[in-house]
Symmetry: C2
């Protein structure tokens, strides 16, 4: 998979998912540092209809298998660190 | 919602989702710093069957509305920072 191609493809996702992969509104999941296998599985599920969402079901139709692999690689490359509340 | 109650409830989730909310295997999403509205929406979707998953569909049946709100509050309280790849 090609994370750089994923980065440019992700420009269209950024409006909701953020350039840094952190959701821009409360209905939107973070994608930063997510497992590429999980991301690809969800995009294929939206594409096949196995998982449904108003916007994502439509957007996923426009994604090729390569797009999906590249987007997954891109978001997985965003390094996430967690700070536990004390 | 009670994040502390969510933290103790989340002990059972940690085996897959990690104590720090980072997925322990590639099929499992990260939950750390996720929007509480998104998490609650997904848990209710697994509970109602609107979203399906082998384990989560079963686990969600055991969760009350309070459990769901508390789990969402707990995972949202885990602070996430993203490091962009250069």
């Amino acid at each position: 998979a090609d994370a750089a191609a994923g980065k440019s493809k992700a420009q269209m996702c950024a409006v909701c998912h953020g350039l840094d992969g952190i959701g821009k509104n409360p209905d939107v999941p973070n994608l930063a540092g997510e497992s590429p296998i999980y991301i690809a599985k969800q995009l294929h599920a939206f594409k096949s209809g196995q998982r449904q969402h108003e916007q994502m079901s439509i957007i996923a139709q426009s994604l090729s298998d390569d797009d999906i692999a590249n987007l997954a690689a891109w978001y997985a490359s965003l390094k996430v660190t967690v700070e536990m509340p004390n």
